[in-house]
């Protein structure tokens, strides 16, 4: 047996020597199995979908600020179009922007580089993952244009509204939406298996568990959370699909089904999902903060254990989304306690970041600004969540704009701020050129200030009793009086969207004409900075894959002249 295996091994190497050229030309970018190319595919698809989602927000915010006007570039928004827009804005921003960019794009790009491997462990499955994801993206966009319009039953797709075309008036749109979401899940299961196994099994020699950069840990923990929480929802999606198409009654109370079951299936996934996208953003932040404070991360292990605790706890809180849905009040008490408990590890994570900053020599460049903004804004989102976690307050606040503002104060930092932080930080490595820091800062302030101006008024509106998912508030005299708040929020949104042009200009200009980036422009320790920018196919020459001697955050070590100590330098 041993002999046979040795000969096959040699045969395999020979056999593959002439296979590695792979597809040429444009196909090289579409059909590649290289993790970096796949990361770019995810990144650009995600950014494009982010643009779509942002423009959707523009259309329905215009309708809310100026009911009934013909929105420039869209026309008059009908009530059904309004529903379809808010539903798909939510779905797209979470499933087609936050997840592909934060987990798939940066996971794909960073994990093999950071653990010192030449690629993902299953490159073909990785490619398949993107292809499935691409199909799902096409389907969700197509669902907006079918007969009856896009699905308008909110991103949570509660039955019976989502289950019957009679109710939601867009049976084909609803079915396409559901299939797209299910395919997206499958894409991320395929990707997640790759991330997890790559980090577990393909670490560079010498790299122990505590030598892995936190951002890798976080992306992998997020993938595990996703994998273990999405199962019931996949089962639920099959059931809902049958309700929609074949006419079963899984969620139809008149036939013995139970709509509450869907809510449980959905939120059993839906709440861990918040942490699935939060953790990568947090990991990105902590890496950037350590680099630009020139300090070791305060409490690497504490951070790691806290994140694991957060992940575990996140499975115990899901029913706080259902306090007024008619769940048993005794269960609501249990879920209130777990919900309030989870703020403890999250607060701990914030303190770790603050303690890392303390006493560091801080460089306030664009990535660092984004990272700090992430912590500041996410903190506001977390604190307002405590109001909603308390059953008493939630009865009043549920389904108001307070929830909506809270949610955006968590997801905007995650999906948008986290993405920009990572993009500006790793841009030199990804594309081999430096970004313009001044334009980056203009874009930063032009995004952060309007962001707060959009959502702080929505907190006020929510406390004033303004419910979500209403097309036109003019029928409610006491709400109509608060119209100036809505106009202000909409104006801020338009300003924010316009400032994104600065980013696209900067991105494209830097890509073409930015100064060439050296290997390690930020003087950081982790392995991705030890190879060329951008890294070649295979990341390092096959015989020079790095070996690891220490943890990822050895900045300002007292025994060394330089203030950083790359992981791969022999002692």
């Amino acid at each position: 047996m041993a002999d046979a295996s040795v000969t096959t091994v040699e045969g395999a190497v020979e056999h593959h020597a002439h296979e590695h050229h792979g597809p040429q030309g444009i196909l090289k970018y579409i059909w590649s199995t290289d993790h970096k190319i796949i990361a770019m595919q995810y990144l650009f698809t995600g950014l494009f979908m982010g643009l779509v989602g942002g423009l959707m927000a523009y259309v329905f915010r215009m309708q809310l600020a100026f009911p009934g006007i013909s929105v420039p570039g869209f026309g008059v928004v009908s009530p059904h179009e309004y529903n379809a827009l808010v539903t798909n804005h939510g779905s797209i921003m979470i499933f087609w922007v936050a997840m592909p960019v934060l987990i798939a794009a940066f996971g794909n790009f960073l994990i093999p580089l950071m653990v010192g491997a030449d690629d993902m462990v299953f490159p073909k499955i990785n490619r398949l993952s993107y292809q499935v994801f691409f199909v799902s993206a096409v389907l969700i966009l197509a669902s907006l244009f079918v007969e009856g319009g896009g699905f308008g039953g909110a991103w949570t797709a509660y039955p019976p509204l989502s289950a019957q075309g009679d109710y939601n008036l867009s049976s084909l749109g609803a079915t396409l939406w559901l299939i797209a979401v299910a395919l997206e899940f499958i894409a991320f299961l395929l990707g997640g298996i790759n991330f997890i196994t790559t980090m577990m099994n393909s670490r560079a020699p010498g790299m122990k568990a505590y030598d892995i950069p936190l951002v890798c840990w976080m992306i992998v923990i997020a993938s595990i959370l996703f994998m273990l929480s999405v199962g019931p929802l996949i089962a639920g999606a099959i059931m809902l699909l049958f309700d929609q198409t074949i006419g079963t009654g899984f969620f139809d109370p008149a036939r013995g089904g139970d709509p509450i079951l869907w809510q449980h299936l959905f939120w059993f996934f839906g709440h861990p999902e918040v942490y699935v996208v939060l953790l990568p953003a947090l990991g990105i932040t902590i890496d950037i903060v350590a680099t630009f404070s020139r300090k070791k991360v305060f409490g690497y292990k504490i951070m790691l254990y806290t994140v694991v605790a957060t992940g575990v706890l996140s499975f115990f809180v899901w029913a706080h989304h259902q306090f007024i849905a008619g769940i048993d009040p005794r269960m609501a008490n249990v879920f209130m306690v777990t919900t309030l408990l989870i703020s403890v590890p999250i607060a701990e994570l914030c303190f770790v970041v603050i303690a890392t900053l303390y006493g560091g020599s801080i460089t306030l460049n664009t990535p660092m600004l984004w990272a700090l903004a992430f912590m500041a804004e996410f903190l506001l989102g977390g604190v307002t969540g405590i109001f909603l976690g308390a059953t008493g307050a939630d009865i009043y606040l549920h389904d108001t704009y307070f929830v909506l503002a809270h949610f955006h104060y968590t997801f905007f930092p995650i999906a948008i701020i986290g993405t920009f932080a990572a993009l500006t930080y790793w841009f030199p490595k990804m594309f081999g050129r430096m970004m313009n820091d001044t334009l980056g800062k203009i874009h930063f302030w032009g995004t952060i200030i309007p962001f707060n101006f959009i959502f702080i008024p929505l907190f006020v509106l929510g406390l004033g009793g303004q419910h979500r998912r209403i097309y036109d508030f003019q029928n409610f005299p006491e709400l109509a009086a608060m119209q100036p708040f809505r106009v202000f929020a909409t104006m801020s949104l338009i300003v924010m969207l316009l400032f994104q042009l600065v980013f696209f200009y900067n991105f494209i200009q830097s890509l073409r004409k930015g100064p060439k980036a050296e290997r390690n422009p930020w003087k950081a320790n982790t392995l991705e900075w030890t190879t060329e920018s951008p890294p070649p196919h295979g990341n390092w020459p096959p015989d020079q894959l790095p070996r690891v001697y220490r943890g990822p955050y050895e900045y300002a070590h007292p025994d060394r002249e330089e203030d950083y100590w790359p992981q791969n330098l022999p002692a």
């Binding site: 047996m1 046979a4 593959h16 491997a117 196994t197 199962g231 059931m239 079963t248 009654g249 013995g256």
Partner: protein
């Protein structure tokens, strides 16, 4: 860079990469099937009237299919044993026996469904039947997918290529078997 990448051959955990991935696949499958079966169980306990519908499932067909799957699991593990010894041809033959088991299973299942549907018990008859067809259908889809993949692996194994995959598909196959071991009492015995 040669393919497969060096990354695939490393094993920091001590588990070969392929097998590690299969365990993760199974973990995600456990929650997919588990979510469905947990929902079924809640309804089943909450709706005593389902007993009337459950009477109409055919225990003997279910038991026969259990026997078929257990046997195919047995041949799959024998295939793995052969692959470990490096006997690719023998391993391929056992895999083909397993595929035949899968075919028998699907054949019997089709007959059973045809019989039930022609007697008016369709997926929309009531929620018991909806769960019955959904759960068994999801399982049958896994059986068919497993058999197809096994065909590819058997073809390679006969040429002594990729013998480690015999074990991987075997683990998956045993999992499909285990799911049926639970579906059998849930749908056929507890009446």
């Amino acid at each position: 860079m040669s393919y497969p990448p060096i990354a695939t051959q490393r094993r920091s955990t001590g588990i070969p990469t392929g097998r590690l991935a299969v365990w993760w696949v199974l973990a995600s499958e456990v929650v997919i099937f588990g979510g469905l079966l947990a929902s079924y169980l809640m309804f089943r306990i909450g709706h005593p009237e389902w007993a009337d519908a459950a009477v109409h499932t055919n225990t003997w067909i279910g038991a026969f299919n259990t026997f078929v799957l257990l046997t195919s699991s047995f041949t799959a593990v024998l295939g793995h044993q052969a692959a470990e010894r490096g006997e690719g041809k023998l391993a391929a033959r056992y895999l083909i026996y397993t595929i035949l088991g899968a075919a028998t299973f699907v054949g019997v299942k089709s007959y059973e469904w045809w019989y039930e549907i022609s007697h008016g018990y369709t997926i929309t008859t009531n929620n018991f039947w909806s769960f019955y067809y959904t759960a068994a259908g999801l399982h049958a889809a896994h059986v068919i997918a497993g058999a197809v993949i096994m065909g590819y692996i058997a073809r390679d194994a006969a040429k002594n290529v990729n013998l480690h995959r015999v074990e991987l598909i075997g683990i998956y196959w045993h999992f499909v078997d285990v799911v049926w071991i639970f579906l059998f009492p849930l749908l056929y015995i507890a009446k």
